[in-house]
């Protein structure tokens, strides 16, 4: 098989979402038997690209060629037809079916025309799993598996399709070291067989270990494709980060580090995700949390808001020891929370802009002992917040899903801000919104901090952390891996700490 033969080629691919250009004239190709790493920050367009390859999205421009012939991948089933398998981060497994059934869904080996050949399906599945050296009983149900096991089943599923190209989106995020080693061995074997692999990972060392070529995406554009053996991790990191427009972060006030402590967390533990975390949060501080998928940051911050339960540890708020069991308790205390999953648990998508903004404080904007809403008051609150955050909307009764991502995010943030919170927990505050809106959100955050509100922010966008935060903690597999302050913080060090390469720091 000719190493240089191109299996699939993308030319000038464009994809536009309302308000955002997700991909702009991207050229990209993958050869037979090649491992092609795709890297970039969140929002760089990696997911959009693989969804186009998998048939889930249709490009708005450009063409796709498979073995030199132009093709349309009109549906996910078409991708199967072209023997392209995608392992998405959100699994496409059916929880109530067994492992073997999921691996062979739609292609079950049969006796006659319709009866499933259980013996064959299970032995075949066992064989594939054995090849992957995975110890999962193929008769088990998906709903009984751990996340890592599900991941392995996804891989087994695409292996069973005899895929000619396999796309892996962060496959190691949830795997243990041992499982990662297995996976790498499989990838090596696939490569030998001439299977092409697109490998997406935040862990750069993995990309370097595995890939033949690396393509860097940033803000929907292809920056560069490099042969792996002709580049270095440092170079790739700088390509990923690009030139940051420093102006966005102008106006950051000086933080002395001598402000009073508003919140303190001691020896915090959460089952299977967070181990012995302690930190202090000061008034007017922006505290950053960095870490790749599986670092446990989200669990930690959710539980500080009362949306998840800790197993042990203490929290002090304004000097008093507190127990936060549910969000309403956190809200009453003055802790606000902005989710990273805006669609899944942020937006009340059937409701209007106004109603979305006021949902937390609505019970305080009432007369007759909470019976009726003071609609004028609600409107005043809304208008002032809309002005403060510069929310753009057609009218207050417009449903929130019709707003752009940036404006949706502002509403969700505003929801928390109107409740006069003292501590604001922000998870991925700029995920999925365009560059202009990002800058606005940053400006808002700086403004809040200047007013004395403390912010805890988790982000996978490094420039954000470097330029906004006063201090930044890096978590690796649920443990505190590193701590930085404004002086010693830079993106390369953060990346190194996130992916567990602490040696790099020294």
């Amino acid at each position: 098989m000719n190493e240089n033969n191109v299996f699939i080629e993308l030319r000038n691919i464009r994809k536009i979402f309302p308000g955002v250009v997700a991909l702009e004239d991207v050229d990209f190709d993958v050869r037979y038997g090649e491992v092609h790493a795709l890297v970039g920050e969140n929002g760089a367009g990696k997911s959009t690209l693989i969804k186009i390859l998998g048939g889930a999205y249709q490009p708005d421009g450009g063409e796709i060629l498979i073995e030199g012939k132009p093709v349309t991948i009109a549906a996910t089933s078409m991708a199967q037809h072209f023997k392209i398998a995608v392992i998405y981060q959100e699994f496409n497994l059916v929880p109530d079916l067994s492992v073997a059934e999921n691996i062979f869904i739609g292609r079950e080996p049969k006796i006659g025309k319709s009866f499933i050949n259980w013996k064959k399906i299970n032995t075949d599945a066992a064989q594939i799993l054995k090849k992957l050296d995975i110890d999962i009983n193929p008769r088990k149900f998906i709903s009984d598996l751990s996340v890592a096991e599900k991941q392995m089943v996804e891989i087994a599923k695409s292996l069973s399709m005899d895929a000619r190209m396999m796309i892996m989106d962060e496959p190691t995020a949830t795997l243990t070291e041992k499982e990662v080693v297995k996976l790498f061995a499989i990838i090596e074997e696939l490569r030998k067989k001439g299977v092409s692999i697109i490998y997406i990972s935040h862990r750069l060392d993995e990309a370097f270990k595995l890939s033949d070529r690396i393509t860097v995406l940033r803000d929907g554009k292809k920056i560069e494709t490099k042969k792996t053996n002709q580049t270095s991790q440092d170079e790739i990191v700088s390509l990923m980060v690009g030139k940051v427009v420093k102006d966005y972060f102008a106006g950051k006030k000086e933080w002395t580090g001598k402000e009073e402590v508003i919140m303190e967390v001691k020896n915090y533990n959460i089952a299977d995700s967070i181990y012995d975390i302690s930190f202090k949060l000061h008034k007017g501080e922006i505290l950053g949390f960095a870490g790749v998928l599986g670092s446990g940051i989200h669990h930690l911050l959710r539980s500080l808001y009362g949306a998840a339960q800790k197993t042990s540890g203490e929290v002090y708020f304004e000097g008093r020891k507190v127990e936060i069991r549910k969000p309403s308790e956190a809200i009453n205390m003055g802790i606000g929370y902005v989710t990273e999953d805006r669609k899944g648990e942020g937006l009340l998508y059937d409701m209007s802009v106004l109603q979305n903004l006021s949902i937390i404080i609505i019970k305080t904007l009432t007369f007759f002992k909470g019976l009726f809403i003071k609609q004028k008051k609600e409107l005043t609150v809304f208008n002032s917040m809309a002005k403060e955050l510069d929310i753009k909307y057609a009218n207050i009764n417009q449903r929130i899903i019709y707003l752009s991502g940036g404006n949706q995010q502002k509403v969700v943030m505003g929801r928390t801000l109107v409740s006069d919170c003292k501590v604001l927990i922000l998870l991925e505050p700029t995920r999925g919104i365009d560059v202009g809106a990002k800058a606005e959100i940053h400006k808002i955050m700086i403004g809040l901090a200047s007013k004395g509100i403390s912010i805890i922010m988790a982000s996978s966008e490094l420039p954000e952390l470097v330029n906004l935060t006063d201090r930044c903690f890096v978590l690796y597999k649920g443990r505190m891996a590193a701590e930085f302050n404004r002086e010693n913080m830079d993106e390369e060090k953060l990346v190194a700490a996130e992916i567990g390469k602490l040696s790099y720091l020294k």
Binding site: T76, S77, K110, W118
Partner: protein, 321 residues
């Protein structure tokens, strides 16, 4: 313990049956009689057979409220056609016509996108009206006496035919749901429709076939009941749909979809029959029978909830389940 709980999911209702049997056998000598036992199973078979179809519908993430009207529709068509086509021909046509109704249900639900509730509820009203129009509101007497042998005779002079049908249909439906790729695709569509679509399954087609299967099972019972009474009854089995739903749910089929338990359905059908039949024999008033059904339903689900909770905690604690 975990093994037991896993087992309970499959045979929980069976435990209820055993308990109820022991109770009934103690309080009334009638229940130590083979004929009574067979009669109870026979009367359970009508609900159970339709509940097999209903189990499919619930497994695919929907349900069907039109089954009682489909029974009457089948009954009427047979009665009208039997003089000219003989019973074999009229049965086939009646079943085909009912399946077509199921097809219409499926198309309205999958293609037009009307919720299963409104679709099948409307279909129920329309079909009842249509059956009455066909017969002018009359019950149609069937003069072909040999037709009776279908639903009212006994095999080996012992086992009533409806029980045979129930067992055969159970085997068929069980094989379809658990052994064929189609059955597993039904479960997949109800469990995670998005994943099923992403895996290249034609979910719309699968669901349409499911509603045809429900109609098929309802029309089979329509045939049996028509043959027993030798009357085409347009208003057959008023209020039976809720009974069928109760059986399917009591049998452990989750309303969330994806998990169909046909064994449970079979036993639940018999159990409901035991309650009504058994308490009737004990001269317990009809109100207490209803009370028993309601409490059993809540109790069974309460236990099921406890079981789920226990399994969840076990999982969190890292016990392999």
């Amino acid at each position: 313990m975990i093994k037991f709980l896993k087992l309970y999911e499959k045979i929980g209702i069976f435990i209820l049956i055993v308990a109820a049997s022991v109770f009934l056998a103690i309080v009334s000598p009638n229940f130590r009689n083979l004929n009574t036992i067979l009669s109870i199973i026979m009367q359970g078979s009508y609900g159970a057979i339709i509940a097999f179809g209903m189990t499919f519908a619930i497994t695919s993430g929907g349900f069907d409220l039109s089954v009682e009207a489909i029974m009457g529709f089948t009954s009427v068509i047979i009665a009208m056609l039997i003089p000219s086509l003989g019973f074999a021909g009229s049965i086939i046509i009646a079943i085909l016509a009912s399946c077509f109704v199921g097809f219409l249900n499926g198309v309205l639900i999958t293609k037009v996108g009307i919720s299963p509730l409104i679709t099948t509820l409307s279909m129920q009203v329309i079909l009842r009206g249509a059956s009455l129009i066909i017969t002018n509101g009359r019950q149609v007497v069937i003069s072909q006496k040999s037709f009776m042998s279908i639903g009212a005779s006994k095999v080996f002079n012992l086992i009533p035919t409806p029980i045979i049908y129930m067992v055969v249909l159970f085997a068929i439906f069980y094989l379809i749901l658990n052994q064929t790729s189609f059955g597993r695709h039904v479960a997949a569509s109800g469990s995670n429709e998005q994943a099923a679509k992403m895996s290249g399954l034609n979910v719309n087609l699968i669901k349409t076939v499911v509603y045809i299967l429900v109609a098929f099972s309802a029309s089979i019972v329509g045939v049996i009941r028509t043959s027993q009474t030798l009357i085409g009854i347009p208003t057959m089995a008023p209020g039976f749909t809720l009974n069928v739903l109760t059986i399917a749910i009591l049998g452990g089929t989750s309303l969330a979809g994806g998990k169909g338990n046909l064994t449970g359905t079979l036993f639940a059908g018999i159990f409901i029959s035991m309650i009504y039949y058994g308490l009737n024999l004990l001269n317990v008033q009809i109100f207490y029978q209803m009370l028993a059904v309601g409490i059993t339903l809540l109790f069974a689900l309460f236990i099921d909830g406890l079981r789920m909770k226990y399994l969840e905690t076990a999982k969190v604690k890292g016990i392999r389940v």
